[in-house]
Structures are given as C-alpha cells and as structure tokens.
C-alpha cells in the first residue's frame, strides 16, 4: 500500500470529531447540543467496533492481507470515541457527581451494560502495542482481545435498551454484528471439523477381522 494511505485513514477517522467540533462552533448542533454529542460519539464507537471486527473476515474472504495493519488503529478509534462518549456522560450529563454516576451504573441496566462495554475496552487499548503482544505471547494476547466481542455486544445492548420505542437503529447494528460474529462461529466450526478429519485420518485403520 502507498505510504501516505495510513495517515489519510487516520485523518478520516478524526472526521466525525471534526464535524462535531465544527457544528458546535457554528451553532449547528440544534436545540439539544449535548444530546447530539452523546448520540453521535455513541454511534461512532459502534461503527468503529464493527469496522474493527470486519477486518479479519474481509482479510480472509478477499485475501487482502494488508488490511490487518489497520485493525489496531480502528480499534483504538473505537476506544477514543468511547472515551469522548463517557466524558460527555460524566461531565455534561452528570457534572462529575460521583454519587449519581455510581447509582446510575448500579441501577440502570442500560448504563450498567454500556459501562461494562467501555471498561472491557480499556485493557485492549492498553495492550495494543507490539511490546504487549510480545510480553503476553500471541496466543494469550489473542484470547484477551476476544473481549472485543463482548464489548461490541454490550454496546449494541446498551443502545437497544436506551431507546424509547424505535429499535430500528440498534437493530441495524445488531444485524451487522451478528454477521461478523456469525462468520467467526462458522469459521471455527469448519476449522474444528477439518482438524477432526485430519486427526481421524492419522489413526491407522484397524484391520478388519483378521482371523
């Protein structure tokens, strides 16, 4: 891939934030700006989580191996927007009232599940470096980073549980997520099947009735 492509993608990932910033500056965030900021950052977490989860299937299905080099960046952008989303909540919604925040997290299931999804992303962001992959070892690192499945599921449930009646948007995210996770289940089943066959092929056939 061309050298300047990655920085370009990086800048594009900052686009949603730039757009929000511009709209806030120009007074285009509508009647309830804080609501728009909360919803917009929330949307972009899910979008980046889904993009991140799409890398492996795309890579396998298209053979475009270079895609892997973008996965960490997309994952970290999901975390970046999650930090913005979370900050919006604790600052602009709760004004750092820790008592209220804690009560929310314990009492309101959509916040409980959203908070869980956010917390699950923290170790992934921290261990996203080459150094940590080495330290943990590829296998263990991979196992840990499967937490992204749970985080994405938690994110979609969070959205689903907060809407009043119209679940069409969370349903769209749920649909894409189920495709991406479904791919992994199918891939795992196929792999297991193959391994079994390979294993049974290695056992020498017992000669029949050698009498």
């Amino acid at each position: 891939m061309v050298k300047w492509f990655k920085p370009l993608v990086f800048l594009a990932c900052l686009g949603p934030l730039a757009r929000l910033g511009w709209k806030a500056y120009a007074g285009l965030l509508g009647a309830n700006p804080i609501e728009v900021i909360t919803h917009s950052t929330g949307d972009w977490i899910l979008i980046f989580l889904l993009i991140t989860l799409a890398i492996t299937p795309l890579r396998k299905l298209t053979g475009q191996l270079w895609l892997i080099r973008y996965r960490r960046m997309f994952g970290l952008f999901a975390f970046f927007y999650a930090c913005l989303h979370f900050t919006t909540y604790i600052w602009l919604d709760k004004f750092f009232n820790m008592h209220e925040i804690w009560a929310d997290v314990l009492k309101r299931r959509f916040i409980t599940v959203g908070f869980t999804g956010f917390v699950l992303l923290i170790p992934l962001a921290l261990t996203s470096t080459q150094g940590w992959i080495r330290r943990l070892g590829g296998k263990r690192w991979q196992l840990l980073h499967r937490l992204i499945y749970l985080s994405a599921i938690a994110g979609v449930i969070h959205y689903w549980w907060l809407v009043k009646a119209d679940v069409s948007k969370p349903a769209q995210y749920a649909f894409v997520l189920s495709l991406l996770l479904g791919y992994r289940v199918v891939a795992w089943l196929l792999r297991r099947n193959k391994e079994r066959k390979a294993a049974s092929a290695m056992i020498p056939r017992t000669p029949v009735a050698e009498a």
Partner: protein, 320 residues
Amino acid sequence: MLIKKAADILSSEITPKSLYLNRRKFLAGTALAGAAVVAAGVGLRELASPSEVAEANAKIDGVQKSPFSTTETITPYKDVTNYNNYYEFSTDKYGPADLAKNFKTLPWTVTIDGHVKKKQVLDVDTIIKMAAPEERIYRHRCVEGWSIVVPWVGFSLNELIKRADPLPKAKFVEFTTLFDVRQMPGQRSSVLQWPYTEGLRMDEAMHPLALLCFGMYGEVLPNQDGAPLRMVIPWKYGFKSIKGIVRIRFVDSQPLNTWNISAPSEYGFYSNVNPSVDHPRWSQASERRLGEFRKRPTLMFNGYDQVASLYSGMDLKKNF
C-alpha cells in the same frame, strides 16, 4: 374500516373564515392588490401563497394574558419548532419540522361523542371560537428529561367540556390523533399503535390548567407542534399533551393511552411529572432546559402545585 375517502372537492375547497380574514388583512395591507381580485374570488390562493407558510404564521388576534403564565425565560421559537417528538411523522426529533410542512390542517373536524348530551362533529374553527384565546406561558417537561417554556395560545379544555355537556356517567375523556398514513409517514411504521390516543380523568380535564391549544408565540400552531388542535397539560409529561386531535370522547372507564400500551411498566395513565418516581430506565430528578448548560432539578407536578389536590390519597408511585 371506513375512515375516510378522498374527498372529490367539497369542504377542502371552501376557504375557512379565519384564513379568509387573514387574507383580507393581507390584501388590505398590500392595498394595491385591488378590489378586482377580491371580486374575482379566484387567485386568492395564489396571492397568499405559499399558503402553508402564511397560514402557519398567521397571528391570532385578541389574545389575553393569563395569570397561569410563568415569568421564566421563553425557549426560542426555532427550538420549539425544530425539536419535536411527533412519531406520526418521524421518531427523529429533527424530522417533523420538514415532514409536516405540507400537512393539511384545513378542513379539519373534531368528533365529540361518547357520553354527551349531543354528539357532534365540529369544524375546528368553531371550537377555536368557543372562548377567548389566552396566552399561557407554561413549563413543558418531556419524559426523556428535557424541558422548554412555551407561550401557548388556547383556552381551558373545560370551556369545551361545559359546552359538550357530558352525562354523569362520563368519568374520563379520551383524545385521538388523526390517522392518515398518506400524510403522516411515521404511521407506516409500527413503532407505536396508531392512532395515538390519550386520556384524562374528568376532574383533571376540568382543571383550568388543562389547555386546549391552537397557537403558540401569538401565532397559529405550526404543524410539527400539533396543529390545528392539541392538548397542553403542563403538570404531566409531554406525551400526555396529544397533538392533531380529531376526536374527543367521553367515556366511563379509564381509556388506554398509546405509550402505556407500548410499555406499561414505563408509562402510566397519569404520568404526572414527579422527580421522586424514576422512569425504570432513567432518573426523573433533574432535567435539561433547552438552551441551558447545567441541568436543573425537576419540580413536583412540574411546579404546578395547584393540581396536587386532584391526587390526594393516591399512591403516586403506583399510579405513575
């Protein structure tokens, strides 16, 4: 179901009096338009076009001030007309302003039936002229946790109820919104059960604060805010203040209301603003007044303490 057949011509072509008067005023203002056009009678629509816009912004004359008004800062007109929960048009709050642009509020009739002396179908203009219009600057609190202050125009619902003359067995009032999929695209989705219905207990409906509303900011109601006729019940969450009313029915038992049908554990029949009874999924203790940065505490009955006696002896946690 025989709801409505597309009218061939009929009443929609008859210029309602209020509009006619507005146009006359318009013509008088431009003087030059001349008597010939008036005499011809045609071309009036063209002259006043775009009619929807002119209509929506028509001033309401003779509006009296009301002692029920708050002195709090009024929310900007553009916020109240662009941030609307009106699922008949869209579940996106910024949707109705555009989607309701061509909504036909004329002709418009309201059926008054159920347990009343005289069942009747009234033209909305007849209803509007029943009593003198008042400006009521009310706090309006949405169940979602935001609030606005709006100068509504209307009169107490009890003015209409008195004239409708309900029978003693009428214990509740049920309101119904227009059901017209061609005009209200949101009704194509089954996100709520259509048509939207709401209800009040008779004593609530008779309370002078319960406003039958047809205007705001001194003008005729914009379509996205519930034109041509809506309720405003300031001590209850916004969804109780039903829009686009086509039927007012007097009944003997508690009517169903749409949001209660949709999620009975979350939206009750009463739905009084109450900071100490949370929505199952979020707190109702505070609210964001549009245009303000910090949240403000939510007041019991949205600050309309005068309704408290309607609920004395009732467990408001159970009757949420």
